[in-house]
C-alpha cells in the first residue's frame, strides 16, 4: 500500500482540484491586455485545432481522442476559455 496518504488539494484561486493555490497557473498565465473598449470580432477562419488539425475549434476543446500522451489537466492557452470575455 502507498505510504503517502491521499491528500485532497483545492485551489482557492480558481476552485480547481488539480493543483494547490501556490501552483495555480493563473500565477503566470496573465496577459497584458489592450484597451477593452475596442470591439473584438472573432476570426473563426483563423481557429485551428492542435489535436486533430481541424477547423473552427481549439485543441483543448477537441472531441477527438487526445493525440499527445502528455496530460493537459489545467487547460492550455489554446482553449476557447482563453478568448476575450465577450468572445467566449
Amino acid at each position: 500500500q502507498c505510504p503517502h496518504k491521499w491528500k485532497r488539494v483545492k485551489c482557492v484561486h480558481c476552485n480547481s482540484k488539480n493543483h494547490s493555490r501556490d501552483r495555480c497557473p493563473s500565477i503566470w498565465r496573465s496577459y497584458y491586455l489592450l484597451d477593452s473598449n475596442v470591439r473584438r470580432v472573432l476570426p473563426v477562419h483563423k481557429i485551428f485545432c492542435y489535436n486533430c488539425g481541424g477547423k473552427g475549434h481549439f485543441g483543448d476543446d477537441c472531441w477527438e481522442y487526445r493525440s499527445s500522451r502528455v496530460p493537459n489537466e489545467d487547460g492550455s492557452a489554446f482553449s476557447g476559455e482563453n478568448l476575450p470575455q465577450e468572445l467566449k
Binding site: S30, Y31, Y32, L34, K46, I47, Y50, N51, G53, A77
Partner: protein, 331 residues
C-alpha cells in the same frame, strides 16, 4: 556576487514587477538586446561579404553573390555561419570545375582558408573561413529557393510583432542543447521560424487582437513551450505556412507530408511545394518535444517559486536563466 550564467540581468533588475509574466517579458527583451549583433559585428559581416562578392564578379563577370538564411533575416546567433548563393546569367556555375576554380581563386586572393569543396552532395557547396573576420561561409550555386525563403521571412518579421524575439530565444535554447542541427535530426532555422510563426498566427489572444505580443513575450514563450512540448498532436497534425498566414492540416488528408517510417514526426508544408515537408530531416522530434516540455516545467516552476518569494529574495534573480544558459559576451 555576480552571476556569469545569465549576464543579461546585470543592471536590469525586474524583481519588483507585480506580475511574474511581466518580469519574464522584460527579461526576454534584455536577453534579445544582449545577444543581438552589435553595429560593429554587422559592419564586419557586411564588409566581408562585399569583399567576396567583388572577387566573384572579378572571376565571373556574369555572376552575382547573394546572402540568404539567418544572415539575410537578422536572426543569427553569435558565431553562426553565413549562407550565400552564386547565381549567374549563364546558369552553369554548379559544375565541379567551377567550384574548384572559385575555391582556388579565393585562396589566391587570401579571402579563404580551411577551404572544403563538397561537389557530390545534393546541394554542392564550398565551405571556408574568411581569414580576417574568422567568419565561416558556405557558398551554394544557381538556386533561388533560399533567397525566396528569406524574402518570405522578412515579410513575416515585419508584420508579426514578437516573432523575432521568440525565434531568437528558441534558437538559443535549442542550440544550447544541440537540437538545432538538421544532420543530427534537430530543428533547422527555417523550421524554428515556421513553428513560432504558426504559434503566433493561431494564438487565441493574438487572433482576437486582445494583446500586443511585444508586451506579452513572457507568457507567449511559456505558451509556446506548452503547445509544442505538451499538447501538439505530432501524429495527426501538419503545419501550413503561406504568405498570408498559418493553418493546421490533418495529416490524413495530406498523406504526402506523412513520414513513411513513423507517424510521430513534425510536418511543415513547403509553401512552394504542397507535397514537400520542410522539416522531414528533423527525425529527433521526440527529444525536441521533451526539451520543450522541460522548458515549460522549468519556467513555470520558477514562476511559482519567485511568486512566493519575498522581494528581498527576488533581487538579482533570473527566470529565463533556468532555461537558457548563455555565457557569451554582449555583442
Amino acid at each position: 556576487t555576480l552571476n556569469t550564467d545569465y549576464p543579461w540581468i546585470l543592471n536590469h533588475d525586474h524583481s519588483k514587477q507585480r506580475e511574474i509574466a511581466d518580469w519574464l517579458t522584460l527579461e526576454i527583451k534584455d536577453f534579445v538586446a544582449y545577444i543581438s549583433p552589435s553595429q560593429e559585428e554587422i559592419r564586419v559581416r557586411n564588409s566581408t561579404i562585399s569583399k567576396i562578392r567583388n572577387a566573384v564578379k572579378d572571376l565571373w563577370p556574369d555572376a552575382d553573390l547573394h546572402v540568404f538564411g539567418s544572415f539575410a533575416t537578422d536572426l543569427y546567433l553569435p558565431g553562426s555561419d553565413i549562407d550565400c548563393v552564386i547565381n549567374s546569367s549563364s546558369g552553369d556555375k554548379e559544375n565541379r570545375n567551377c567550384l574548384y576554380s572559385l575555391a582556388s581563386f579565393l585562396k589566391r586572393r587570401k579571402l579563404a582558408t580551411q577551404v572544403e569543396v563538397i561537389s557530390k552532395a545534393r546541394v554542392p557547396i564550398i565551405k571556408f573561413v574568411e581569414p580576417i573576420s574568422q567568419i565561416h561561409i558556405d557558398i551554394s550555386f544557381e538556386r533561388v529557393n533560399g533567397l525566396e525563403a528569406a524574402r518570405v521571412i522578412r515579410g513575416w518579421l515585419k508584420e508579426t510583432p514578437g516573432l523575432r524575439e521568440l525565434v531568437l530565444i528558441v534558437k538559443q535554447f535549442l542550440a544550447a542543447r544541440r537540437l538545432n542541427m538538421v544532420h543530427t535530426g534537430g530543428l533547422g532555422g527555417f523550421s524554428i521560424i515556421c513553428l513560432v510563426y504558426a504559434f503566433l498566427q493561431l494564438h487565441p489572444r493574438v487572433i482576437s487582437s486582445d494583446i500586443d505580443s511585444m508586451e506579452n513575450l513572457g507568457i507567449l514563450l511559456i505558451d509556446f513551450f506548452e503547445l509544442y512540448g505538451k499538447n501538439f498532436g505530432y501524429d495527426h497534425v501538419a503545419i501550413s505556412v503561406t504568405d498570408s498566414g498559418a493553418r493546421y492540416l490533418s495529416k490524413e488528408l495530406y498523406g504526402s507530408l506523412q513520414n513513411p517510417r513513423t507517424s510521430f514526426a513534425l510536418a511543415i508544408q513547403d509553401p512552394g511545394d504542397k507535397d514537400n515537408n520542410i522539416s522531414r530531416g528533423s527525425f529527433n522530434i521526440r527529444d525536441i518535444k521533451k526539451a520543450f516540455a522541460g522548458a515549460f516545467d522549468l519556467l513555470t516552476n520558477r514562476c511559482f517559486e519567485l511568486d512566493a518569494a519575498t522581494f528581498k529574495d527576488r533581487v538579482g534573480k533570473s527566470i529565463l536563466g533556468n532555461v537558457i544558459k548563455y555565457r557569451g559576451k554582449q555583442r
